[in-house]
C-alpha cells in the first residue's frame, strides 16, 4: 500500500518507480534500457557487481550512480539517504542518472514519521539528504527544466522481497 502511494507521488514529480521482488533483475533492465557503460555505485553490499566505487576526483566521469536509500516517505515520494550508512553523497547527485533501491518495509507514511525515525538513534547522522524526483529549475522564464546540477533522471526500485 505504502509502495503504491510512494510510486504515485514520485511519478507526479517526474521520477520513475519499479515495485519488485527481484531487485537484481529490475536493476539489469534499467541499465540495459539506458545503455549505460560507466556506472558508479555506493559501497553498499550487493552493488559491487554493477559498477565501481569512485573517488571524489573520478566521480564526474560516470553516466549512472546506484545507491540504496535508507528510508522513504510515501506521502511525498521522497527518498531518505543517510551518509553514515554508505558512501552515497556524490554517487547520488553527480551522475546524470540516479538509481536508488529502497526496502518496502522502510517506507514511512509521513514526513513526521521519518523525522521521528531520524532522531531515534543516539545522535542524528552527520549528513542526511531527502530526494524528491530529479533535479529541476525554473530560473529561466519560469520554464521547468529537468536536470540542472543533479540527476536528469531518477529511478527508484522498491524491494518487496523482504
Amino acid at each position: 500500500m505504502s509502495s503504491e502511494i510512494f510510486k504515485k507521488n514520485l511519478e507526479s514529480v517526474a521520477g520513475h518507480c519499479v515495485i519488485t521482488t527481484d531487485v537484481t533483475d529490475a536493476l539489469r533492465r534499467i541499465i540495459t534500457d539506458l545503455r549505460a557503460q560507466r556506472i558508479a555505485v555506493s559501497d553498499a553490499p550487493g552493488l559491487a557487481e554493477f559498477g565501481v566505487v569512485p573517488s571524489a576526483t573520478e566521480i564526474f566521469d560516470f553516466e549512472v550512480g546506484i545507491t540504496n536509500a535508507q528510508a522513504a516517505i510515501a506521502e511525498t515520494g521522497t527518498l531518505v539517504l543517510d551518509s553514515s550508512c554508505e558512501r552515497n553523497r556524490l554517487v547520488s547527485v553527480v551522475p546524470p542518472v540516479h538509481i536508488a533501491i529502497v526496502a518496502a518495509s522502510r517506507i514511512y507514511p509521513t514526513l513526521a514519521d521519518v523525522l521521528a525515525m531520524l532522531q531515534s538513534g543516539s545522535e542524528v547522522s552527520p549528513a542526511i539528504t531527502f530526494i524528491t524526483g530529479p533535479s529541476r529549475t525554473a530560473d529561466i522564464e519560469l520554464t521547468l527544466t529537468i536536470g540542472v546540477h543533479g540527476p536528469r533522471e531518477l529511478y527508484v526500485i522498491i524491494d518487496e522481497s523482504t
Binding site: R89, V94, L115, T132, S135, D139, L142, H149, G150
Partner: protein, 456 residues
C-alpha cells in the same frame, strides 16, 4: 538598471512601470507562483492550523533566542562544527575572508544565500583575491550580468531567455541559441568545472535546529548538495533568527516553506547537516564553519512589535501577492530584500534614513499578511515604520491639509459649508491631477443626505 538605491524608490518605480518587458515577466511570475501557492495550500486540510503553529514556534524561538542560539552552537560544536558570531556584515565578511585565506582558497563555489547578499560577501572575497562562483542557475545568471537578485526565490525572473542567451554567448562563448534546455546545459557544464576545483563551499541556511545542532538547507537544483559535499571546507552563513527549537518542528516548516514559495509539496532536495563527518575517509567536507549574523537583528528583537519581522522564512509569497511588487519588481526597492517583507526589514536592517520611502511602497491592502506562512502582520509593521518616519518626513502642506480636514470634520457648521462649497466648486477647481489623469471623479450629488433627510 543595476544597483538602484532605496533612496530613489519613486524614480525607480516610475522607470520600472515604463518597462513593458519587465512588467510582462513580473505578471507571469507573480501570478504563476501565486496560483501554485493557493493550490498547494488548499491541498492541506489544516493549512491555517499549520500557520498558527509555525508562528507559535517562531515566537517561542525568538523570545528565548539567546538560549536557543547557545544550545544550537554548543550542539553543533560538539559534533565538530566551528561556530562564529558576527555583529555586523563587515565582521561576517572578515571571518569568511580569513577562513578562505587560511585554507588558500582560490575558487569558492556558493549556493544561494540572501544573507550573504545582505552582507555583500562576494565583493569582499573578490577584493581579497578569490574567485567566487554563484552556482544556483538564477544567481549565476545575475552574477554574470552584474545585477542584484530581483526576487527572493527566482533571482533572474526579470531577464528573458534572449537576454540570458546573449549573456552566455558573450561570457561563456556559447553558440547562439535561445533554447532553455541548451542554456541550462551550458551552465551545468561550466559550473561542474568549478565544483570539481573549488577549495571552499559557501551556503546559506534555512533552519538551524537547537536541539541537535543541525542545519537544514532546501533547494531544487542540486547545487547546494554539491557545494556542501565536494569542497574541503563548508561555510554556512545564517541570520540569528534561523534557529528553531526542535528537530520535530521541521515537520511544520517543511510543509509551509515549499508550498508558499513555489507551490511544491517538498522541494527536490533537503540537506540535513549535523557537524562534520565521523571518519576521515567518509565523504564530505573536513571542516564546517557556521557564521551567525546579527547585523541589526537584535534591534528588531528588542521591540515586541518589530520582533515578528524575524519570523520570516524567506518564501517570497508576499512578493507575489503584493500589488506594488507585481508592478515594479524587485530592483526598484534598491535593497536585497524586496516586496512587502523587504519594505519592513530593509529600513530596520539599514536604518530608516536611506530607506524612508520603502514603508510607503504599499497600499496596505493586507494581501501579504494573508499569504504569509508565519502570519507576520506586515501592514501593522509598515504603519509602525511610517509613524517613525512621518514626523520627520511629512511635508508642511500635507500637515496643514490634514489639520484643516480635522477641523472641518469635527464642526457641523464647517462640514455643511464644505459640502455646499464642494458642490459649487467641483467643476471649477481641478482636483489633484494625479488622481484624475487616469480616471473620472464621480460628481457630488446635487442634494446632500442631510438636505434629503430634512425634506422627507
Amino acid at each position: 538598471m543595476n544597483h538602484l538605491s532605496s533612496e530613489t524608490f519613486r524614480e525607480n518605480a516610475k522607470a520600472a512601470l515604463a518597462d513593458t518587458q519587465l512588467r510582462g515577466a513580473l505578471k507571469n511570475a507573480t501570478s504563476l507562483f501565486g496560483d501554485r501557492r493557493k493550490e498547494a495550500a488548499a491541498s492541506l486540510p489544516n493549512w491555517e492550523a499549520l500557520r498558527t503553529q509555525a508562528r507559535a514556534i517562531k515566537d517561542e524561538a525568538l523570545s528565548h533566542l539567546d538560549r536557543y542560539l547557545e544550545e544550537f552552537a554548543s550542539k553543533a560544536e560538539r559534533r565538530g562544527a566551528t561556530v562564529h558570531r558576527a555583529h555586523d556584515a563587515a565582521e561576517a565578511n572578515g571571518i569568511i575572508c580569513k577562513l578562505a585565506k587560511a585554507h588558500h582558497a582560490r575558487i569558492i563555489v556558493k549556493s544561494k544565500s540572501m544573507t550573504t547578499e545582505e552582507t555583500h560577501l562576494n565583493k569582499a572575497l573578490e577584493a581579497a583575491g578569490m574567485q567566487v562562483v554563484e552556482t544556483d542557475l538564477g544567481e549565476y545568471i545575475i552574477q554574470l550580468a552584474d545585477e542584484p537578485p530581483s526576487h527572493i526565490i527566482a533571482p533572474a525572473i526579470h531577464k528573458t531567455r534572449g537576454q540570458i542567451a546573449e549573456l552566455f554567448t558573450a561570457e561563456l562563448g556559447m553558440p547562439p541559441t535561445d533554447d532553455v534546455v541548451q542554456l541550462t546545459t551550458t551552465a551545468r557544464t561550466t559550473l561542474r568545472d568549478r565544483f570539481a576545483t573549488a577549495d571552499m563551499g559557501i551556503s546559506g541556511v534555512n533552519f538551524a535546529i537547537a536541539e541537535t545542532g543541525t542545519i537544514v538547507i532546501v533547494e531544487n537544483e542540486g547545487n547546494i548538495r554539491l557545494t556542501t559535499s565536494l569542497p574541503r571546507v563548508h561555510v554556512a552563513v545564517m541570520g540569528i533568527e534561523k534557529v528553531i527549537p526542535r528537530f520535530a518542528d521541521l515537520d511544520v516548516f517543511l510543509k509551509l516553506l515549499p508550498r508558499s514559495g513555489t507551490g511544491q509539496q517538498l522541494t527536490t532536495y533537503q540537506s540535513f547537516i549535523t557537524g562534520t563527518k565521523r571518519h576521515a575517509t567518509d565523504e564530505g567536507p573536513e571542516e564546517l564553519h557556521i557564521v551567525l549574523l546579527d547585523n541589526g537583528r537584535s534591534r528588531m528583537l528588542a521591540h515586541p512589535l518589530t520582533r515578528q519581522s524575524l519570523a520570516c522564512i524567506r518564501c517570497g509569497a508576499c512578493l507575489n501577492a503584493c500589488p506594488v511588487y507585481q508592478q515594479v519588481g524587485g530592483h526598484a526597492y534598491g535593497s536585497v530584500y524586496p516586496g512587502p517583507i523587504g519594505a519592513v526589514i530593509t529600513p530596520q536592517l539599514m536604518g530608516i534614513e536611506k530607506t524612508s520611502q520603502l514603508p510607503f511602497a504599499s497600499s496596505l491592502c493586507g494581501a501579504c499578511r494573508d499569504v504569509c506562512p508565519v502570519k507576520i502582520d506586515i501592514p501593522e509593521l509598515l504603519l509602525h515604520l511610517r509613524a517613525e518616519i512621518s514626523p520627520r518626513k511629512g511635508s508642511a502642506a500635507e500637515r496643514l491639509a490634514f489639520k484643516l480636514w480635522a477641523k472641518v470634520m469635527t464642526s457641523p457648521a464647517l462640514y455643511k459649508m464644505s459640502s455646499v462649497a464642494g458642490r459649487l466648486l467641483q467643476h471649477v477647481v481641478p482636483i489633484s491631477r494625479a488622481w484624475t489623469n487616469g480616471r473620472d471623479l464621480r460628481p457630488i450629488e446635487s442634494k446632500s443626505f442631510h438636505e434629503l433627510w430634512k425634506n422627507e
